[in-house]
């Protein structure tokens, strides 16, 4: 080959390569076939069906549609017909379906042995529980965290039949029951936010974690149409610019746990300006409020400037349909004071029966269960403290739909109670901190897998009732706890009057006057009936509980449902939405403003130790003006020691810092006014 031939050949080869499709085809094939590995998950090729469900993991009870493919739940969509969902999908409802196959799920009944848990059959589990309960008669206790379900009636009837004690987990529903009881009412507090033209949230994080937040958010959206003028004014008063405050028309900085005092301060201004109420106990209320709660006093106590308080009072008085919604900034620990004070203020504004209504509670259908108010009467905190300290005995302690070993103040004592109780039974769907400590786990099926119901969460506008039926195949060998307990009751020789939980739900529907077939199809029942009973205002003006602890800063726990709730850890599908300002690496981030950081001698990014009356935690500091001066904001939801790889060991649990104080007059523990000391770690 001479030079010329070589060059000709080379040029030909180059041109040929340029023209031939072979390299491009090979590249294309390579990209296709290297994505076609057998271990890549394949999506199903089947039709999608939608079925209605009311979310039981979402505390706001929002109704959604579940997308079902081949018996598996694959997604959720909004349900515009549901009064609590109004077409939206809350963070927790969106994540709920993804949790069906969460790595944290308990897959079958488990019995604790010396070497760990071992799987047992349902028959064995029921036999063991029946034996333990019959031996423990008189010293049986049960704690339930389900604020909306009829399952509580079965549990209460069973426990009452064994002369035991039944407790509900503390929260807004318990606070509301206690507030109404003290004011001579009964039922549930309903907020007609749909028709309000001025809404004042006192502490209550009502667009994220308080009350019917999904519905509230939708109403907020309707009153604040994009690109147009708002038809209602929303004001938030609290220590942190949280998810509610950030979109409200005005954020008023108020110290943690200040709701009651601010409400009474506003009442004082209104009464000074001549507001009266034709209500029982008004004279006593007026006298007590006049003795304290002058704007200057309220400013000192709560940080709300006197001029701001006066302006809000003027705006409330001028509004046609004002509405005041009060509560704890993190959904628990406010006791009954904030609600009573806000009800007093709503009465003064002439809104009782208008923006605020008292609607009937759920009628009891299981004999021996007692009334709803009776079930909420006892405070679980002193009981669990007593068990931890060995004062109260609990031969069998059962826990349903709650995680007291994680989500209560004085967390270590609550966890210790689980260890100290002679025999602990968890009905959790997940291997949570409480289940991990239990002697026996009898896993509950999840919402989409079981029959269950949902009656009027705290703060709904009207009485509502939804029934859930199994929509998908059970992912694991789990059962509906209500059915399990009916079976256990039968083994104990107790007749609760029903063979299955479904029968209980049918009886409830009949009692409410709702159509069973319509409920079963996922249609929610609503009722406009409201009580006309007058509330007694006399107990509304009691002073708020003092600060708990001697720390230099007020602690503002913050709840965000993408991080989790007190009973559910961060769902896998929400893990990506955690912000750097909440979690840095695996360290919890606490927020304070620049002035507080200077006062405390800490810098942004620094690791600090927070010392509260309940315990300590380390965290990283993020300086943000979203927190008022003198306050440190800590996210709740991190620091799990159980669950799965998505949440275990991520951050620290801020519940540890909190301690509960007694409020003898209301009989409910309070922990919304904790103080902490901060030091560089």
């Amino acid at each position: 080959m001479n030079r010329r031939t070589f060059l000709t050949f080379s040029a030909g080869a180059t041109a040929g390569l340029m023209i031939t499709p072979i390299p491009w085809k090979l590249t294309d094939d390579a990209s296709i076939w290297t994505q076609n590995w057998q271990w890549n998950p394949k999506v199903p090729k089947r039709a999608i069906y939608f079925a209605e469900m009311a979310s039981k993991l979402d505390p706001s009870g929002s109704g959604v549609k579940v997308a079902v493919v081949n018996g598996n739940a694959v997604g959720v969509a909004g349900n515009v017909d549901h009064p609590l969902g109004k077409g939206a999908v809350s963070t927790m409802a969106a994540a709920e379906v993804g949790l069906l196959h969460s790595p944290a799920r308990v897959r079958q009944p488990m019995l604790k042995t010396a070497t760990g848990f071992k799987a047992i059959s349902w028959d064995e589990a029921e036999t063991i529980l029946t034996g333990k309960l019959s031996e423990a008669r008189g010293e049986v206790a049960m704690v339930s965290g389900d604020d909306t379900g009829s399952a509580n009636e079965i549990f209460a009837a069973l426990v009452n039949g064994l002369d035991g004690s039944f407790y509900m987990m503390p929260g807004e529903t318990q606070s509301a029951h206690k507030a109404l009881e003290m004011m001579g009412g009964e039922g549930r507090i309903a907020y007609d936010i749909e028709n309000a033209d001025y809404v004042l949230f006192l502490g209550a994080d009502a667009l994220e974690s308080s009350g019917t937040s999904t519905r509230n958010a939708r109403v907020f959206s309707e009153t604040h149409p994009t690109g147009k003028a708002a038809s209602a004014k929303y004001v938030y008063a609290g220590p942190v610019m949280n998810n509610t405050a950030v979109v409200c028309d005005q954020w008023i900085q108020a110290k943690p746990g200040a709701a009651a005092t601010v409400a009474l301060g506003l009442s004082r201004i209104l009464m000074d300006n001549g507001a009266v109420a034709n209500a029982k106990g008004f004279a006593s209320f007026k006298q007590n409020v006049a003795q304290g709660y002058a704007p200057a006093h309220v400013e000192r106590e709560t940080g709300v400037r006197a001029d701001v308080l006066k302006k809000i009072a003027r705006e409330l008085a001028a509004a046609k349909r004002p509405l005041v919604i009060a509560g704890s900034e993190f959904g628990q620990g406010a006791g009954a004071r904030a609600l009573m004070a806000s009800l007093g203020l709503n009465v003064l504004l002439g809104q009782m029966g208008q923006s605020v209504k008292i609607i009937p509670g759920a009628p009891a259908v299981v004999q021996g269960a007692g009334s709803e108010s009776e079930r909420y009467a006892a405070d679980v905190i002193p009981f669990l403290k007593g068990v931890a300290e060995g004062r109260d005995g609990a031969k069998v302690l059962m826990v349903y739909d709650a995680n007291p070993a994680y989500g209560l103040p004085q967390t270590q004592a609550m966890a210790k109670a689980m260890d100290k109780a002679a025999y602990t039974v968890s009905f959790s769907s997940f291997m949570d901190e409480t289940a991990e400590r239990a002697n026996l786990i009898m896993p509950n099926s999840m919402t989409a897998e079981r029959y269950d119901d949902l009656y009027t969460p705290h703060g709904a506008g009207t009485a509502t009732y939804s029934v859930n039926k199994p929509l998908v195949k059970s992912a694991f060998d789990t059962r509906t706890t209500a059915d399990v307990m009916l079976s256990v009751a039968s083994r104990l020789g107790m007749d609760l009057g029903y063979a299955s939980f479904k029968d209980v739900l049918q009886a409830k529907a009949t009692r409410l006057g709702a159509s069973w077939s319509s409920l079963r199809q996922g249609k929610a029942w609503t009722s406009a009936s409201a009580s006309s009973a007058q509330l007694n205002l006399a107990p509304c003006a009691a002073p708020a509980v003092r600060a708990i602890g001697e720390g230099t800063l007020a602690l503002a726990p913050v709840v965000k449902h993408n991080i989790g709730t007190s009973k559910v850890a961060m769902p896998p599908h929400s893990a990506g939405s955690i912000r750097d300002t909440e979690l840095s690496g695996v360290q919890t981030v606490v927020q304070m403003n620049a002035k507080t950081a200077r006062m405390s001698g800490v810098k942004a990014g620094e690791t600090v130790k927070l010392m509260g009356p309940g315990g300590e935690m380390t965290a990283q500091v993020y300086v943000s003006e979203k927190v008022m001066t003198g306050v440190v904001a800590a996210p709740l939801g991190f620091g799990h020691t159980a669950w799965d790889g998505f949440s275990k060991g991520v951050g620290e649990n801020a519940f540890k810092l909190l301690a509960a104080a007694d409020d003898p007059e209301t009989g409910l523990s309070v922990w919304s006014t904790n103080r902490v000391t901060i030091a560089t770690a």
Binding site: T27, S31, I32, T34, Q35, N36, W39, N40, P41, V43, P44, I48, A67, V69, V74, G75, V76, G78, G87, S90, T91, A94, A95, V97, G98, H101, S102, P103, L207, E208, A217, R218, F220, S221, H224, T226, G227, M241, N243, V246, V247, Q253, N562, H573, S574, A575, G576, S577, L583, G585, V586, N593, K595, E625, K626, T629, G645, F646, G649, V650
Partner: protein, 274 residues
């Protein structure tokens, strides 16, 4: 730059920043809808922050937190959800050597064809919005969770770039539904096609529709004097609009000089669509 096609339909999102609480419901709904694998190794990634781990996060929609930078009572915060902008002049399309991403379908959604992508990531480098993400790892679902994959969206392999496509499968469903109902699939009613994030949003911060269709709400919203688009002066012509009555928020939507006001859309007010 060569011009891109003009379409009769322009699917657009209008995000009212003043209504976004930053709750993350849109992100969770997006992850579930689009079969984005929950990253089990999320914790390890969190522990080892910094490059490249923080860029390994797979999410199609990111919520940014904005601050006006002021202290005390003057401080203000806003949340800005950022999906793919589905640009009218998409810089990612021009640079793709494999034609794995294209803007060629009525409606203007920028496509991403996974089997064609060989992972060069030029598109990621060119996207000024950081809307694209790369699969550094195999998509691994916790055991059993693969049974819950939606039939609508294929699971992407390692080595592939992915991004938000306005839940394009929902557009296909909406068109099918229109055909079944005997309606014109190219004239969908307002609300007939809605991405998962817009549907989920509890505060209704995300509106969606055809910005060129006067019967769709977004048509008017995008013309609002408070409307703006991100980095609009780059000329990418995004199909995602934002609305905020707060000037400081609008100013953060682009790089303004100190002497400039946040004059949305070059000062003429409203979107220059159509």
């Amino acid at each position: 730059m060569a011009g891109f096609k003009e379409f009769n339909i322009r699917w657009s999102m209008v995000v009212d920043i003043d209504k976004c609480t930053g709750c993350g419901a849109c992100m969770t709904a997006c992850n579930k809808e689009n079969n984005i694998a929950p990253q089990e190794e999320a914790k390890a990634r969190l522990e080892s922050k910094g490059f490249p781990t923080r860029f390994k996060k797979i999410e199609w929609l990111t919520i940014y937190e904005l601050s006006n930078g002021k202290q005390g009572g003057d401080h203000d915060t806003a949340f800005l959800p950022r999906p793919c902008m589905q640009c009218g002049m998409p810089s990612c399309v021009s640079v793709c050597p494999a034609i794995a991403t294209d803007k060629n379908e009525e409606g203007g959604i920028v496509s991403q064809i996974y089997p064609r992508c060989f992972g060069c990531r030029y598109c990621m480098a060119s996207c000024p919005y950081h809307a694209r993400v790369f699969n550094w790892d195999q998509p691994i679902f916790p055991e059993g969770m693969e049974k819950q994959l939606t039939p609508n969206v294929s699971v992407r392999s390692r080595g592939v770039v992915e991004k938000c496509n306005f839940c394009h499968h929902r557009l296909m469903y909406a068109k099918d539904a229109a055909r079944v109902a005997g309606e014109d699939p190219e004239k969908l009613a307002d609300g007939a096609y809605m991405p998962a994030c817009a549907e989920a949003c509890p505060t209704g911060a995300i509106s969606f529709g055809d910005v060129k269709n006067p019967e769709h709400e977004v048509h008017e919203l995008a013309k609002s004097p408070y409307a703006f688009r991100l980095l609009e002066r780059l000329g990418t012509d995004p199909q995602v609009y934002y609305i905020s009555k707060r000037e400081w928020v609008r100013k953060q939507g682009d790089n303004y000089l100190e002497s400039e006001g946040a004059a949305a859309h070059g000062g003429n007010g409203g979107g220059q669509h159509g």
